[in-house]
């Protein structure tokens, strides 16, 4: 591509020499910088506090909300344990019990485990990286508000006795035939939260790749950042199949398109596949970031670098991949071919290898170090013990005949709680104790911590260890009561007692977490003697993240770079000031973290809250089958998001270059692969493409699973219209690319012309796709239904593409987008690359596949 006006690149000395770093900073200079930064990063006060978008505020709200949802889900569990304490209890009736166990599982997974990872990462990842904030703070805030609204909506349904009650995996036909609105609340409420999760994943991946401090190459970045990368990638490939499944499921619930109805060619097993392609990686999505916390705590307590850094990276990446080959082990009893079961059994055994490696690496680090048994370490030790027990029953469950034997019994309940408590709850609590001084500048109580640990640890084992036996004796999951003659009574009573001990432990923990600690006074800056950057934080609190962004040359900079903290404080490093009182952070290259440019980040705003409220409306109204207000809310949500993008992202800068400190001059604007926005778009589109692939998978799944797909004598899409849709879709893509190229060459009029024609072509593609299937009746059989679903998917994406083209056209006319500053157009072109592929694949499935398959 030729550019008439190339953007400037970084210039100046790099890396900084010792001599440069030794040069003192004058006091007046230090004070000026601190004052400017304080002004730029000021947290809004009073009722405007809710408009804050800084990662430290959003991260705190996010974690506390997830904790609150966890406690509510825990109370549901207690109520269930009371009901099961004795045979024939009537504390809960069957219907309420069903709602409770469904909500307990759903809330623990969707409202606690995954959001908690995102919350903690938003809170601490920038600190690990010495970054001022995440690259898209308003996106985190938007995600948080969506999460809060969605969570309250889903949990609130219990108060109206309207909660979902088909179990956390919502199997059809039980869930599709449910008369109430429970399944709709589950589908729409949680889809809404899944979107927020993907948003957070995009943010975290871009943060770990592009917002590392200068010099922090991939081989020295904190292990936590590696785990964030892996887990973010997993979310991108695991959540979209579930979103695609939700899409089909809701179409069946609302419009009677028979995707899961066997009488009209549908198949409930497709839901199980889509759910578990999400559901199994989900377990690792929950586990890996928690074990990442252990990877940060273990070196600190051992007071030495982690042993086998590369091995842990191997383990994280390897687990990330292998965990996608396990999903059918939740479906061993569905009658799939033996060989197929064998594949999944084998992969389930193989995943133990990388999981084991990381645990051995931790143990090795502890063995060669000098361990101080602090509270965080105690919780990590508890986690390892419990997780290993859960892992061993997991190996048993990977074996098909054993799995058949204990399928759907309390043995499964015991296994999954051992893995999740050991793999998630304990390490997260360890993390809370460990990072507490970082985010509140106080320490938690040693004494209360010991009480909480022993209560939860012993209570947990008293509750769940007997459940293995209860399960082996044949007690099925999800029964609201059982007869005395079963002989399970005493085991259930023990479990119930244990559950109350766990609850007491949590009460102690939460009290210690939230009680005011005014009397404590000022704490040491690095109370555990950690080696990683988050403990260079300011005490007392400052909102700027890092006083100056350091140059990093070691995995444990606080141990190996002796003058680091002093120089950071003095503003000796990068971005020590904020002359325009704008929030900024430094963006570096992916592999070697060379400074690339200075990124302006967005500040406090109401618009994110408004956008979340309208998005909520768009998801929540359809639950009650009210569609007009939903569409209006959707439209307003789009307007809000566009307003926020227009007013605060990728605006042409006042100054092209910025003195970034240490003689380095960095550009203030980036476009294409250099910019964080481009990475955000690319990563989002990977997730979107996965969802699309899942819908296409549905088409071919029906073909393999059903002899009547397509049914004999079925009407097919109109070939001519399919061809028009494909051609017009490709034309819209070509025109977008042409707009980018002509714009970069300075031919602005031509570019605008292309941006006028492109939406027209896209519109034509959408109309043609609709015309191709309009004569088919989607309620008659799954064949026309899946074709319609593909059409709807394509049209919605075309519509989004049209809005983006219009946004660029407006940008060009109003001076936001120029030949030199064309980030928006480059991002939109990237969207359209994916769009072109989607249009062609959809056309191939609509137009060609029926010919091949019959």
């Amino acid at each position: 591509m030729t550019r008439v006006h190339p953007l400037p690149t970084a210039e100046g000395p790099y890396p900084p020499t010792e001599e440069m770093l030794n040069a003192p900073v004058f006091e007046a200079e230090q004070e000026r910088g601190a004052k400017e930064l304080r002004a730029a990063w000021k947290t809004p006060e009073g009722w405007r506090y809710v408009t804050a978008v800084n990662n430290s505020e959003v991260g705190k709200w996010y974690s506390l909300t997830a904790l609150a949802f966890m406690l509510i889900a825990g109370l549901l569990a207690l109520a269930m344990r009371v009901q099961l304490a004795f045979p024939g209890m009537t504390f809960l009736d069957a219907d309420r019990f069903n709602q409770f166990f469904t909500m307990h599982g759903s809330a623990m997974m969707f409202l606690f485990a995954v959001p908690m990872f995102e919350a903690i990462s938003i809170l601490i990842l920038p600190a690990f990286l010495g970054a001022r904030d995440m690259p898209f703070p308003r996106l985190s805030a938007y995600g948080y508000w969506c999460f809060l609204i969605g969570g309250i909506f889903v949990l609130g349904s219990l108060l109206f006795d309207a909660g979902p009650k088909a179990g956390w995996f919502m199997y059809p036909p039980l869930a599709t035939k449910d008369e109430g609105i429970g399944p709709d609340i589950w589908l729409l409420g949680l889809s809404f939260i899944e979107v927020a999760s993907i948003a957070a994943a995009v943010e975290l991946i871009v943060g770990a790749l592009k917002c590392r401090p200068p010099g922090m190459r991939v081989n020295i970045m904190p292990l936590y950042a590696w785990y964030v990368l892996v887990v973010g990638g997993m979310i991108l490939f695991a959540f979209p199949p579930l979103i695609a499944g939700d899409f089909l499921f809701e179409l069946e619930r609302s419009f009677d398109w028979p995707f899961f109805d066997p009488t009209r060619g549908g198949d409930p097993i497709l839901w199980q596949h889509l759910f578990w392609i999400f559901g199994h990686p989900e377990v690792y999505i929950v586990f890996l970031p928690s074990i990442a916390i252990a990877a940060m705590i273990v070196p600190t307590v051992a007071q030495r670098p982690i042993v086998g850094y590369s091995w842990i990276v191997l383990s994280a990446v390897g687990t990330g991949f292998l965990s996608f080959g396990l999903w059918v082990h939740h479906m061993f009893t569905t009658g799939l071919p033996q060989i197929s079961l064998g594949f999944f059994s084998a992969a389930s055994e193989a995943v133990v290898i990388p999981t084991g490696i990381q645990i051995f690496a931790f143990v090795a680090t502890l063995m060669v170090g000098r361990v101080k048994l602090t509270l965080p370490m105690l919780w990590i030790a508890g986690a390892l013990a419990i997780f290993v027990a859960g892992g061993l029953t997991g190996v048993m469950l990977a074996i098909v005949p054993f799995n058949w034997q204990v399928h759907d019994t309390y043995f499964i309940v015991a296994h999954l709680h051992y893995t999740l408590f050991g793999g998630m709850v304990f390490p997260v609590i360890a993390g809370v104790y460990y990072f507490y001084p970082f985010f509140t500048k106080k320490l938690m109580s040693e004494k209360l911590g010991l009480w909480a640990f022993w209560l939860i640890f012993s209570g947990f084992n008293i509750t769940f260890l007997p459940m293995h036996l209860t399960g082996l004796m044949g007690m099925p999951r999800r029964v609201f009561t059982y007869p005395e003659s079963s002989g399970w009574g005493w085991l259930n009573l023990i479990s119930t007692l244990g559950a109350f001990i766990v609850a007491a432990g949590f009460a102690v923990f939460v009290y210690d977490l939230l009680r005011p600690k005014k009397a404590q006074g000022e704490i040491a800056r690095n109370p555990w003697g950690a080696g990683t950057l988050e403990f260079s934080h300011d005490v007392p609190e400052e909102a700027w993240g890092a006083r100056s962004v350091p140059h990093i040359t070691s995995r444990y900079p606080l141990w190996d770079q002796p003058k680091l903290v002093e120089r950071m404080d003095a503003g000796r490093y990068y971005l020590p000031d904020a002359p325009d009182h704008q929030r900024e952070t430094i963006v570096t290259s992916v592999i070697d973290a060379k400074p690339v440019h200075v990124q302006r980040v967005t500040g406090p705003a109401w618009i994110t809250i408004l956008a979340a409220i309208f998005t909520g409306g768009a998801f929540i109204f359809p639950t009650f089958h009210i569609y007009t207000p939903a569409i209006i809310c959707g439209a307003f949500a789009i307007v809000c998001v566009m307003y926020w993008l227009w007013t605060s992202t990728a605006r042409p800068p006042k100054e092209e270059m910025r003195e970034a400190g240490l003689g380095l001059r960095l550009p203030t604007y980036a476009s294409g692969p250099q910019s964080v926005g481009w990475w955000g778009m690319w990563i989002t589109m990977l997730g979107d493409a996965t969802a699309f692939a899942s819908v296409v998978f549905g088409f071919f799944f029906y073909w393999t699973a059903r002899a009547d797909f397509p049914p004999e004598g079925a009407a097919h899409p109109v070939g001519l219209w399919v061809a028009v849709a494909a051609l017009a879709g490709v034309a819209a893509w070509a025109l977008t690319v042409a707009a980018r190229e002509t714009n970069a060459r300075g031919q602005v009029t031509l570019a605008r012309l292309a941006l006028v024609l492109a939406p027209l072509a896209a519109g034509a593609a959408g109309v043609a796709a609709w015309a191709a299937v309009r004569d088919l009746d989607p309620t008659s059989h799954v064949y026309p239904a899946i074709l319609w679903a593909l059409m709807v998917w394509l049209v919605v994406h075309l519509a989004a593409g049209v809005l983006m083209q219009g946004y660029c056209l407006a940008g060009s006319i109003f001076g936001k987008l120029t030949p030199r500053y064309d980030a928006d157009l480059r991002n939109v072109t990237l969207y359209w690359h994916f769009m072109a592929v989607k249009a062609l694949v959809t056309a191939a499935v609509l137009g060609l596949a029926p010919g091949w398959l019959t």
């Binding site: 080959g325 071919p337 060989i339 393999t704």
Partner: protein, 133 residues
């Protein structure tokens, strides 16, 4: 003092200067092998005619050999680049381009090993079970 525009790193250790993707190639082969084996089995067991299962077994075995050969090749590449025999340096924990270079190849080598084992595991059911029922 060096200038940020100098590109000597890129010449010296050109191989992975482009991206992190390389370390995922071996697991990606595992994933492709897995999906292909599973997809082919589902197809053959649902739609296959007599004799198709034998063809499937042969196909999976051939596919496995190809996948293993590719992973082995990636592993050897990574081993050469890592070259632990040259400097007996295992940690690669310094902020230099050499350590970054060796770290990436070490991780790539380990991932090739785990992918190799994964592919062998997935191929086992075909050898041991060999029927759809």
């Amino acid at each position: 003092m060096s200038d940020i525009r100098d590109r000597e790193d890129a010449h010296e250790f050109r191989t992975e200067a482009l991206s992190l993707w390389r370390i995922t190639f071996a697991p990606l082969i595992w994933a492709l092998h897995f999906v292909a084996s599973y997809g082919a089995t589902a197809l053959v067991c649902a739609k296959g005619e007599a004799g198709a299962v034998e063809a499937l077994l042969l196909g999976v075995i051939l596919g496995t050999l190809v996948a293993l050969a590719l992973i082995l090749w990636l592993g050897v590449q990574a081993w050469r680049q890592w070259d632990p025999r040259r400097d007996h340096e295992w940690e690669n924990d310094k902020g230099t381009s050499e350590d970054r270079h060796q770290f990436l190849s070490h991780a790539g080598f380990l991932l090739a090993m785990i992918s190799f084992i994964g592919v062998v595991y997935v191929a086992l059911p075909v050898l041991l079970i060999g029927s759809c029922a």
